[in-house]
């Protein structure tokens, strides 16, 4: 899944989009993905869940996902339909969480400065190559360390660890 190329339309957000904005704490009394998806980014982009199409790509500025450790944030983004998040930089815990749940994320500093809202991108989460199909521009995102790539290719940390545990006997 995560090893495959994804493509979709771009939604843009700015710098320092925190986890409270991605999914507000008032919804954290539940943890089912569908429910969280319905409230994803709602204080920032009104009615986003109704408007986002499966496969769409979120393009952000610096420090995306700062704040709380709530894994509900990447879960909400993934369940809302986003296939990938590209940012200038990510907050540490969000970065780990996204990879752990199998949501591809890519650090690519130039993308948010250049790509327009609504343009269409193709992204290869493995190589980090990002292509703007509207303008033809190609960007190179930062590559993952090999073991993180393995986690992503397995679909997240749990399948990765489950396999290791099994092999141990």
């Amino acid at each position: 899944m995560a090893g495959n190329k994804v493509s979709g339309q771009v939604w843009k957000v700015g710098h320092d989009v925190d986890t409270d904005l991605i999914i507000a704490a008032r919804y954290l009394n539940r943890s089912d993905a569908e429910f969280l998806a319905q409230h994803c980014l709602e204080d920032l982009i009104p009615n986003l869940p109704e408007r986002v199409k499966a496969g769409d790509i979120l393009v952000a500025g610096k420090n995306f996902g700062c704040g709380s450790s709530r894994e509900h944030a990447p879960i909400a983004l993934k369940a809302a339909g986003f296939s990938c998040v590209i940012a200038e930089s990510f907050a540490r815990i969000f970065y780990r969480n996204a990879i752990n749940i199998g949501l591809p994320i890519i650090v690519a500093p130039e993308v948010s400065k250049t790509v327009q809202e609504g343009s269409k991108l193709t992204v290869d989460p493995v190589s980090g190559e990002i292509k703007d199909l509207t303008t033809g521009t190609v960007f190179q995102g930062e590559p993952f360390p090999p073991f993180m790539l393995e986690i992503l290719e397995k679909g997240g940390l749990i399948p990765y660890v489950r396999e290791k545990v099994k092999n141990r006997g």
Binding site: C66, V165, K166
Partner: protein, 421 residues
């Protein structure tokens, strides 16, 4: 080449002599923590791993504190899930409402975390324990699930930034909260991204343990992996009375390497206010006195400790909360709560017209017990002032120390204790 305190603790827990920044290592965990929000997700993931039992029933802590005592039925369900899991696994450290507190106030107080530990918590403010000289960091529920199952986690060894705080503040109301707000204001909310923030210098040595825990607590607000303070005789005095297990003091070598060294002279520092909507949006209190407030919150894992309540009570004693303000005081733990009752602090707050709540995260994350309506403004001793953090997306949170929050509660606007004659 010498090592920093962070590198030394990580190396010891990875079973190697030396580590250096950038290295990926596997680390043994001394403690693994989750709460009523992150716990249920972690348990769900834990069940998928294929291991029946947690790695050590004495090293997994579950605490209902965020929406507890449960604020509604879904919250009650989440609290029940962590309670049932604790029973099923025979966990030693599950603490029910009435015998707990906000996790990051509770764990150090009860001696469940000690200097030299490596701790992960499915809560970003787990970095608080760095105030004791432990390596502690926040993770998500999936990392926590794996930690519960295996007792291990992978880390990238962080570069360290050294903050040397010099001098003694002239202003008697300047506290650890003001130091950390000033630092975040200086370096920004991603100024220490992925790094260790090591706080040192005369002003840090002069700080009480409560003040040190407050500072380490907010390292995450600069994007850091951990905040840490070398243990000293104050740490020893604190830990001696509480520790439930042996501790170990680590210190940085004099030739340890830092990616950055930042010196700050606190002599003329004023109490700091972080304006909406980022903790880095700081100004001295003298530039904030025109902001009218509807609510003042004194509590949280940042400033719900004993010393914080004492300062607030000192300022509020014999005064009245401004008629248009709701003042909400939330002791961090049951132990602090009881002490506040015995030593007359609760009476001071209630006489002044404030509300005193049972320990809970409550309003800090916009849960309950003080949610803001559209357009309302709060001064709060908590750690985040993001859009909608305490309620309506069009409400505003100003972060401060307990002294400033207490004075502001009386004034009806942001202000200093000197103005509350």
């Amino acid at each position: 080449m010498g090592m920093t305190i962070t590198e030394k603790i990580l190396a010891a827990h990875a079973g190697v002599k030396e580590v250096s920044p950038g290295e990926l290592i596997n680390v043994q965990l001394d403690l693994v923590l989750a709460n009523d929000i992150t716990g249920p997700l972690a348990i769900k993931e834990f069940r998928k791993i294929g291991i029946d039992k947690v790695f050590d029933k004495d090293k997994v802590v579950l605490i209902p504190d965020h929406f507890a005592p449960a604020k509604d039925i879904p919250s009650a369900q989440q609290c029940l899930e962590i309670k049932e899991f604790s029973r099923e696994q025979g966990l030693t450290h599950y603490y029910e409402v009435g015998r707990n507190g906000i996790e990051h106030c509770f764990l150090p107080e009860q001696g469940l975390v000690v200097p030299g530990d490596v701790v992960i918590g499915a809560d970003s403010h787990t970095c608080t324990y760095g105030g004791l000289g432990a390596f502690a960091t926040g993770v998500g529920s999936t990392d926590l699930a794996v930690g519960m199952a295996t007792g291990e986690i992978w880390f990238r060894v962080p570069e360290s930034i050294k903050f040397i705080l010099k001098g003694k503040p002239r202003n008697p109301w300047v506290t650890g909260k003001d130091y950390i707000l000033a630092i975040i204001g200086k370096i920004g909310v991603d100024g220490a991204q992925y790094k260790a923030m090591e706080f040192t210098g005369e002003a840090i040595r002069d700080l009480s343990m409560d003040g040190r825990l407050t500072m380490a607590n907010m390292a995450i607000e600069a994007g850091a992996k951990n905040g840490i303070i070398e243990p000293d005789e104050k740490t020893l005095a604190y830990v001696k009375e509480r520790a439930k297990k042996p501790w170990k003091f680590y210190t940085s070598d004099s030739d340890a390497s830092y990616c950055q060294v930042i010196e700050i002279d606190v002599t003329n520092l004023e109490p700091q206010i972080a304006f909406p909507h980022l903790p880095s949006n700081t100004r001295p209190v003298s530039q904030a006195t025109q902001v009218k407030i509807d609510q003042a919150v004194i509590g949280s894992c940042t400033n719900g400790r004993w010393e914080d309540l004492v300062v607030a009570a000192e300022i509020i004693k014999g005064k009245k909360i401004h008629p248009e303000v709701r003042a909400i005081v939330i002791p961090g733990t049951q132990e602090i709560y009881l002490k506040a009752v015995k030593e007359g602090l609760v009476e001071i707050f209630v006489n002044a017209g404030a509300v005193v709540s049972t320990p809970t995260c409550g309003p800090c994350l916009g849960g309950y017990m003080g949610i803001l309506a559209k357009g309302e403004k709060a001064i709060s001793t908590t750690n985040r002032n993001f859009v909608g953090r305490m309620g309506h997306p069009e409400s505003e949170v100003y972060l401060s120390s307990p002294a400033i929050a207490a004075a502001s509660a009386i004034l009806g606007r942001i202000g200093s204790p000197e103005e509350v004659a």
